[in-house]
């Protein structure tokens, strides 16, 4: 019960925070992308954290979502809300298709296979010009502001949509983790053969996790490009910019926990922005260099993510007070 009250408080504060920012400004854009990356990392967390399969190809689903809604809007005039749902379906189907050959792979092999899948999708999007517009990229056109058409003059509504998306993905993650599926996934993670013995269909459970994760990621792809407006295949199917970064957010925060991706996103995304602002004009590469160093230090210091900092702090705190 206490957890839920804390959760509600956080959500309320999160909803008030954007009101303090310039509604057409810079920080609200950064906040919106931070929230979206947190939600994406949460979606990744379902397969990467709960099923313990390190995917480095989530850009595939992200890009499918981005393109599905945009193509439906441009060619058929369908609202991006409908496009988002359609994108989610395609993303889930794509996750299913790639999961079949890769599900039984583990660790590094799974990571490499998914990385290659992301690249396959990127090449296809570049080559299939009649569908995607090719490497020239696509813009989401201006249209009169309306909620039904997912079109807003200010960034503020996008921020609230991103908050909602993060809350929903986090709830789904928690629901899975606490439910029967989470129990099965944990059993597989601890000991796959033992899980088989007690009657868990490991492939089926992992497949379910992969499909949910892929579908959510695709839906977030739609939300993301509504803010970015212009995108091309190399952006939305980017291995470094999406796949690896999403995994990185979750890993730095702490995988397999609901709070991890949120911590990771609120650390990495603003940090990248600040470093670009401080250093990028003076010495190109310096901001990325520092970013890389921080990444190395954090991994050496906390291989299980920031979340462990809070745990040890809490342990210290509760250990220190009378019991």
């Amino acid at each position: 019960m206490k957890r839920w009250i804390a959760f509600a408080i956080v959500v309320v504060v999160a909803c008030l925070l954007p009101l303090a920012l310039d509604p057409r400004g810079y920080w609200i854009r950064v906040l919106t992308f931070t929230l979206l990356f947190a939600a994406m990392a949460q979606a990744w967390n379902i397969i990467g954290g709960l099923a313990n399969q390190t995917s480095l190809g989530h850009a595939a689903f992200f890009g499918i979502g981005a393109y599905t809604s945009t193509i439906l809007l441009l060619k058929f005039g369908l609202s991006p809300w409908i496009g988002m749902v359609a994108g989610g379906v395609f993303g889930g189907v794509a996750a299913f298709i790639i999961a079949i050959p890769t599900m039984r792979l583990q660790g590094h092999y799974f990571a490499l296979a998914t990385l290659a899948f992301g690249e396959v999708m990127r090449v296809i999007a570049n080559v299939w010009v009649s569908l995607t517009g090719g490497p020239g990229g696509t813009s989401i056109p201006f249209s009169p502001p309306s909620f039904a058409n997912y079109s807003f003059k200010l960034l503020l509504p996008h921020t609230y949509i991103a908050i909602a998306a993060l809350v929903i993905t986090t709830l789904i993650f928690e629901w899975i983790q606490r439910g029967a599926m989470g129990y099965r996934l944990r059993a597989i993670k601890e000991n796959p053969s033992a899980a088989e013995v007690i009657g868990i269909d490991t492939t089926r459970v992992k497949l379910q996790a992969a499909v949910i994760s892929g579908a959510l990621m695709a839906m977030l792809g739609t939300l993301y490009v509504q803010v970015a407006v212009f995108f091309d295949p190399d952006t939305v199917f980017s291995a470094a910019g999406i796949s690896i970064r999403v995994a990185l957010v979750a890993i730095l925060g702490g995988i397999g926990t609901a709070i991890g991706p949120i911590l990771g996103a609120f650390f990495i995304i603003p940090l990248e922005e600040l470093m670009n602002e401080w250093f990028s004009s003076s010495a190109a590469g310096l901001s990325q260099l520092i970013f890389g160093l921080i990444l190395i230090v954090v991994i050496l210091w906390r291989p299980h993510g920031f979340v462990t900092v809070f745990r040890s702090l809490r342990a210290k705190f509760t250990g220190g007070t009378a019991r």
């Binding site: 310039d22 057409r24 400004g25 810079y26 854009r29 950064v30 992308f33 090449v123 570049n126 080559v127 010009v129 090719g134 490497p135 020239g136 990229g137 813009s139 970015a228 407006v229 212009f230 995108f231 091309d232 190399d234 952006t235 980017s238 910019g241 922005e273 600040l274 670009n276 602002e277 401080w278 250093f279 990028s280 004009s281 003076s282 010495a283 190109a284 590469g285 901001s287 990325q288």
Partner: protein
Amino acid sequence: MPKKSTTLSVGLNRRTLLAGTASLLAAPMVLRPAFAQGKTVNVGVIMPLSGANAQFGINSRNGIELVADEINAAGGIKALGGAKINLIVADATSTPTTAGTVAQRLITQNDVTAILGAFASSLTLAISEVTERRDIPLLTMSFADQITGRGYKSIFQVVPKASVIGKAQFDYTKAIAEAAGAKISKIAIMYEDTAYGSAQAKGLRAGAQAANVEVVMDDAYPLGITDTTPLINKLRASGAQAVFPVSYLNDSLLIIRTMRQQKIDIPAIGGAAGYVIPDFEKGLGEFAENVLSVNTSNYDLAPEFTERFRKRFGYFMVHEAQEHAVALDVLVQAIEKAKSAKPEDVSAALRGAKFSEGWAKTMTGGAVQFDNTGLNVLSVPVMVQWRNKELVTVWPNDVAKAKAIWKS
């Protein structure tokens, strides 16, 4: 929040210094606040300073800094009481979304009057989605047709569009060959599958079709190709009389070297980018001699301006530097005309007017004039040829500095 950027702190120093001087000057007359308003005009410069296009981004920044320093040294913007130009440089990286975020930052944190950038079309397009919504003028030398093809009102493209450049690449070549008494009936096109490559290839195709010339090879190849042998094998088998490669530097070196290895000596006519920078000649040495390339401007058309660049930076003024220099100078002329640094006033002053002073003279039309879409209607592409480590304009005839050498 500690601001530690060197350029930024230099900017701050300069600004405080200026404010100080200004208040000293103004002291006898009226007591004005120390931060005399309008004493600097902030101009955003967003370029790829890291990533694969960093070299081009740095060239562009050099061109802009040259002009900014010259204008400031000559007393700043006269209509605004000698206000100085303050450049706010930022890295677009190679990600369009980041470029857009950076633009948002410059607009809200730095109150920029206008933004210049960002060499790569995809970055420029992403920035334009931000500037258009905030009515901030964006001046660019990116080639893509979409830039001025979307009906946006705050974007200004100082160069011709990619499809026009591609068509000129073909048309000029045909004219040069005919002037040398040769006739082209079969050509090959190879291009990297990026926004730039595919848009320019479209123009090449259109040119060939209009002239009834057969395209015997028309191949896109992936960005970052590490081995061009399959392309050149195909070229050799195609029987083309001229080849039109559109690529950045890496591939351009691979393509020319592999052609020489296989003793293919048909003329290669590059599509700007990798073919018109000093590194191309450095990488190929004597094999660069007589290679042709289309270009959107060339330094030998206005040496009285461009030699200043060479003197300061030690290499010839590459086209992206020159065109960005033009963009900044035209922007300043517009501010002078508007007598205001408000973005909407500057936008209005840019549209329609003809700018024929300063750096604008270095463009092929001798001036810059933007139409309703923001396209510079006076600019036409040129054909350049490598001669003894320099790029010489060889076409069109009225601006050519030397006669084209055509060997087939």
